[in-house]
Structure formats: structure tokens, C-alpha cells
Symmetry: C2
Subunit: 191 residues, 2 copies
Amino acid sequence: MKELRERIEREGKNLGNGILKVDSFINHQVDPLLMDICGREFARRFAHLGATKVLTAEISGIAPALTTALHLGIPVVYARKHKPITMPDQVYLTLAPSHTKGRMVELIVSPEYLANGERVLIIDDFLATGATILGLVRLAEAAGSSVVGIGALIEKSFEGGRKALEPLGVPIESLVCITNMDHGQIVFADR
Amino acid sequence: MKELRERIEREGKNLGNGILKVDSFINHQVDPLLMDICGREFARRFAHLGATKVLTAEISGIAPALTTALHLGIPVVYARKHKPITMPDQVYLTLAPSHTKGRMVELIVSPEYLANGERVLIIDDFLATGATILGLVRLAEAAGSSVVGIGALIEKSFEGGRKALEPLGVPIESLVCITNMDHGQIVFADR
């Protein structure tokens, strides 16, 4: 998507080790108008799937997931990384490695909001190794829901996440695809 | 605000000790249409202040802050509770007690996104004791910004937050005000 790609070209920073800093418009400061455009685009691409719920992981997935859910007119659930006291004792919990934290984090969803038979659209900020998204897939499957689509704002294709997710057999959409971040560069896929 | 009050009447749960569970539409599952209505209402009430940035705290503040910022057409910054590796070494950091965690949490903002002279509108999900919001005020002041308004979806007036914030001399708006949660009840202010 043109708007997102141009913003990354202008403000994104390659910090090395595959870390792309987009803190000025996605991960710390958020540009709500850009997120709204991205959410509308995800809604357009996934409109035919009949999703009943958007699922994401706190924290950085919340903004694009919220605007996508807004344009689809369905609720969004964000998996928590720490169980709040308002959550029941019995939950769905899985572990996923955090790229930016260098350790495993918990992903927790309450059975109250992810039910048997739901059609789940997963939205996140990044598709890198696919580990976080696979964690969300496990939570959805534990609940008896089916994942019907996966969307990420930014795909880093050189980390292999798409290959890890393809066996699920659902549409995978990224709005911008980066193919190479070696030697300080940010190379976009030609599309 | 009628829509939010009705939703709390229908789905909110008084868990005791002043804890209001609104996990089905704000804190875990989010109703994006309701958040959009709330954001539009905040934008209407605060339109005259000339805010240049919305400031909130992760995680539950993000949804209402994002929709408010969307309707005001300005960026939103969410204070992080853990410093990500993309953040510079020099940051604004303060401590605030977490009501639902029973301990102090860090609130961290990068100087890159909170600058001298900004006019900051603080938006959060709850106004209870005011401790989190006062933490955000300290961050804004440390950056040389001025806080021009404070908005919360739900005020629990019996916890005294409004009194703690009034010395700031800025407009304080809550969309729903709860005056009493003793004995399992949820009593709304008559407005």
C-alpha cells in the first residue's frame, strides 16, 4: 500500500538485526489517519471471508486491528500478555517468542470472548517469523474457532513467516513487504 | 453518554473492591463502533483546546485515545510500561501505582514524540484515583509540553481522581460517571 510504504521510506529506521523502527507512526506514536486507511484496506481485502471477530496481540497490534474491525463492523479481541484480575481463572494461554524482547511471552485470551464456531481474522503490525501469529492461531483453535485470514501491516519476507503460515490454507495479506534489511538498507518488494 | 452507560448497565460487572469489569467492550474485547462514538464525543468536547497530541497509557487507553485522535486529526502517543529496544536510552520515565496490578508500573515516553511546547490531551479508559493520569501529566511536563485537557471513558467519582486533577486547572471530561459500587451495585451519576 502506497501510503504505508512512503511513510516507512520517510520515517522507518533500520536498527540492524532485522529490527525496523516505526515508532513514529505505529509502535509508540500512532498516526490514526494512516491506521484508519490501513484498516479500511484490510477490511476491503478480507470482506468476503465472513469474519466474526478480529484477533490480535497487545500492544502494537491493537491500532490496526481496531481500525480493521471498525470497517468490518465486528468486535476485536486482543490477547493479553499478563492476566488481569478481571479475567477468569480458566483461560486459553500459549507461549510465543518475542522478537523485540528476546524471550518467550504469554498470549492469553478469555474463553468469554473467543467462542466455538467463530470465524477469526488475525491482524498484527508485523509478519516476521510468524511466531506470534501462530500463537494466536493456537488460541483460536483451542477455542474451537477457525482462522479465516491473516493480515499484517508490514511483512519482512526474509524471516520466513509466510512459509510458516501457508499450511493453514487461508489468505495472508500484508500491506507492505520488505525483502531485505542487510547493511542498513530497507528493500521493498516490487508490488 | 447514553450509549456507553447502557452498555455498562448491560455488560459491566462489579467484581468488588471498586473493580468494574468491562472486558467485553473495552479492556479485552473491544467494540470498535462504541469506541468510535466515544472518540467522536471526546473530539467534540475538546475541539476548542487546540491540542496537538493525544497522550495515553498502554494498554486499555489505546482504543479510546486512537479514536479521539482520529476525530481530532492529530497523532496519539501511548506511554509504554516496558522500554522496547527501539527506544533511545534517554527517555521520560515515571512511576504510577496500578489499580488492577497492585504494584507500581513504569510509564515511559520517548522524547522523540513528546516535545517542548506541545498541547497535550490525555485520554484514558478509567478515571479512578487519578494516579495513572497524574503520571502522564508528569511525563508531559517533563517534556516541556502543557496538558490542555483530560478525558476518561468511565469516572469512578468515589475514588477521588477528579479532586486530585482539579489543581491542574484544565477541563476534565468523563463520558460516564459512577458514584458508588458498594454491595455489588453500580450507581451512575444523574447526568
